[in-house]
């Protein structure tokens, strides 16, 4: 299965190798899952306290836990004129804390991901002797900078895409289907492009984030179409995961809290692994686009030999 070093690497083959690496090194998903769990728990603690306080005032906590949000929250419009009981004030304070921790959690999750992504990619791409710690030290800085640039790109290009989609002359119920789909498609492409840019830094051992973004834009013509199809496909998988995972987490009755927690953790871990798989695939695309001179990295040769 060895190919000529002078030939262009095969797109499909490199992508498959990347995916195989994600399967083989599945424990790497823990690195992406654990921050999610810790930040989630931090924000859930004040909600638990709020639930205790609110529960002393009637069935509100149980109803909220059962997902009956609108019917329950409407009762709070009565607060306009009444002086709220102490428990309600306490619950309100807890809610503020939870929201604050959630906002901080979003920031922390983004930061953690950017710090960890290089290490994960390094392990996916590298020799067994490239440790997680050494890859982390090598890539944390460049990837943090890349994450900042990527955020700017997402904000600018994402907003532009949303505005363009909103301006499309489609009306009625069709627009409710078509516009979100187009918006999701746009974000899937954007996301795929950014992931390949990130992966190309590790694939080429090049820590320059701006250059990585440019490289991903100027993909060789032969991989454009497969890359776009792949990114849309991954976007679809991601959307399905969020939909199904969300439904599954909600489907367990609130009364069975422990079971619900367990199911949710499985779902969250599956999500983390999905992210790992995306990084592996992005690595494959980055390699496939690298051209004959740089293409067949030592790592991919090794996978070829192994599998």
């Amino acid at each position: 299965m060895m190919r000529s070093p002078a030939a262009f690497p095969s797109f499909g083959r490199e992508v498959a190798l990347g995916l195989q690496a994600a399967v083989r090194r599945w424990p790497l998903a823990l690195a992406l899952y654990l921050p999610n769990l810790v930040l989630g728990l931090l924000s859930a603690l004040p909600i638990f306290l709020a639930g205790e306080a609110l529960g002393q005032l009637g069935p509100w906590t149980a109803r909220l836990a059962e997902g009956d949000l609108a019917n329950t929250l409407i009762e709070f419009s009565a607060l306009r004129q009444a002086s709220p009981p102490a428990e309600l004030r306490a619950a309100g304070g807890d809610l503020v804390w939870a929201l604050l921790l959630l906002a901080l959690g979003v920031l922390a999750q983004g930061t953690a991901y950017n710090l960890l992504a290089g290490a994960v990619l390094g392990r996916l791409a590298g020799d067994d002797d490239v440790t997680f710690g050494s890859a982390f030290r090598r890539w944390a800085g460049p990837m943090f900078w890349f994450g900042f640039l990527a955020l700017m790109v997402v904000l600018l290009a994402g907003t532009l895409g949303v505005v363009l989609v909103a301006l499309l002359p489609v009306d009625g119920s069709a627009s409710l289907l078509v516009k979100p789909l187009l918006g999701l498609g746009w974000f899937a492409l954007l996301n795929g492009w950014l992931e390949v840019a990130r992966a190309s830094m590790v694939a080429r051992s090049d820590p320059r984030a701006l250059r990585a973004l440019g490289r991903a834009i100027t993909l060789p013509g032969r991989v454009w179409l497969p890359a776009i199809v792949l990114w849309l496909l991954l976007g679809l998988v991601g959307a399905l995961y969020l939909g199904l995972g969300g439904s599954l987490a909600v489907a367990v009755p609130g009364a069975l809290a422990l079971l619900a927690v367990a199911v949710q953790q499985l779902v969250a871990f599956a999500g983390a692994w999905l992210k790992l798989a995306r990084l592996g695939i992005a690595l494959g695309v980055a390699r496939a686009t690298a051209g004959p001179n740089l293409a067949t990295s030592s790592a991919s040769r090794r996978y070829t030999a192994r599998f």
């Binding site: 638990f48 906590t61 149980a62």
Partner: protein, 629 residues
Amino acid sequence: MPYPHRRLSALTAALLALCLLLSGVPSAAAQSSGPPGGPQSDVASYQIQVTLDPQSKQLQGSERITYRNPSADTLTELWFHLYLNAFRSPDTQWLRESGGAHRGFAAEEPGWIKVERLALADGGPTLLLPDGGDTAETNVRVPLPKALGPGQTLTLEATWTAQLPRVFARTGYAGDFFMVGQWYPKLAVYDRGHWDSEPWHANSEFFADFGNYDLAVTLPQSYVTGASGVRQGETANADGSKTVRYRAERVTDVAWTAWPQYQAVDRQMQAAGQTTQVELLLPASEAGDAERHLAAIRAALDAYGTWYGAYPWPKLTVVVPPEDAGGAGGMEYPTLVTTGSNGPTRGLPGIDNGIYGLETVTVHEIAHEWFPMQVQSNEAAEAWLDEGFADYLTTRLLGRLYGPDRSVLNLPLLRLGYVNQQRGVVGSAGVEQEPLAQPSWQFQSPYTYAATVYGKGSLALLSLQGLYGDERFTAALHHYADVWRWRHPTSADLRDALAQALGQNLDWFFNSFVFGRDVVDYQVGAITDGQATVERVGEARYPVDVRLDFADGSSRLERWDGQERSLALAGDGKAIAGVAVDPEERITLEINRLDNTRLEQPALAPALALADRWLAFVQMLLQLVGQVG
């Protein structure tokens, strides 16, 4: 303006009015007299011939009116509604009050009606109209050349021209679509000693006597038509037009619609032991929702008919206006209603079927076929007697069909009940203290009007239902409908009819919420030394259940009459774990339920369940963050 009641002498009425003015207390706390002699189903009858000019959007009409003086008084004048004049120019009273818009639809083109001739029939003298019939008024006084004694009948003839507005505030055209309502010179009501001389206001609806209508509409042959009453036939005319005839009996009005593109669905329905011919008229774009409408129509005819007496007419026409004529939607006429669609979510898989907007409007409008189309209260002076009733019927029916907690929205992650929505509307509009029985035109805004008469009105009836139970209260309302069908009841008449049927004095309820400004507000006080206290914060003394929960898992339910400011409940030696006022949430008028319950110890399980839900939400959200870039 407060209106006096029958059998109050003029002096008493004047004194009462003065007292009310001085005290600021709303009208009509006086005892009503009970129903007059017999049903009044044949007071004002009309034979109307009308020709539609689709180009100019004008109507040429002639009508023959037979009017029987239903009162014990001798009448020396008549009053006529000329509703379309409300849209004559931007400075009409109606358009100034409305700010030029109605339910979100703007007034774009004028409408008006000119009466060319009004005379006693068969060569009788011409009657004098203000400004020769070309007036800006919506309600005009016409002196009679000869007094009309009690029970006497007169016949009038009128010819008139009407300009329909671009569809707005229920009536008008949109391209070649026509919804024609409030469109002909129409007699006002003489009741309880006075003419209804109030002009048409932006928040006001209508009030009319019962009678029989023969309607003949001439228009191009390409048009599909629908109208109040039963279709009598159609003749082709030599000039290429056609004339369609309808007859409606024991009704207060007729409206009609015409559009070449209507699809018609006819269905014979068995409901509440009665056969009703239902005609659904809708645009092709709405055809996919036809079965949803028909199911809602059947459910409404069956439920309302079972609760308050079967639908009394042979036919019901339900109109779904086209998309560019939304201003025509959601309106009731005798034996004809207009409804609407779910709009942008139409046909959206997994979503649209869980949004009951379409059903809500359809069953609300059909509820009006009982209140006020059979029980014709004054919709302008006491709108809650028809809108509050219609929304109450809607709440009951939708709750039965879909579940009370999801009768507005029933989506996977979002559900909302109609009662809760109304509680939210009343709370957010701040109309808890608005008396229900006040004239539509005295409300501060369309929003406070709607929140009061629809929202608080239906919550009031639901609260009574909660107090007396579904069966007893349904029977009591049925009694009210039976006594006042084909008549003109007031809030006081409703009070007396309900009191009679329930065998209870309901003055406290009506004085608190219908005529007065009281609110229901209970709260739990302290739990100390084996004793719990509940308190009445609001002025209304509403009988309420109080439940004591004990540490050993048992509980005790008591009924408190709410007369005192507080009630102490002894645990009788058992440790009290919690106390709840109105634990079944029967009093939908209760303005604040957040202080109705107190537990001594926080419950762990619901808090854990809630925290887990939050955890799930946060983890999914953070995944989303992690998925990007």
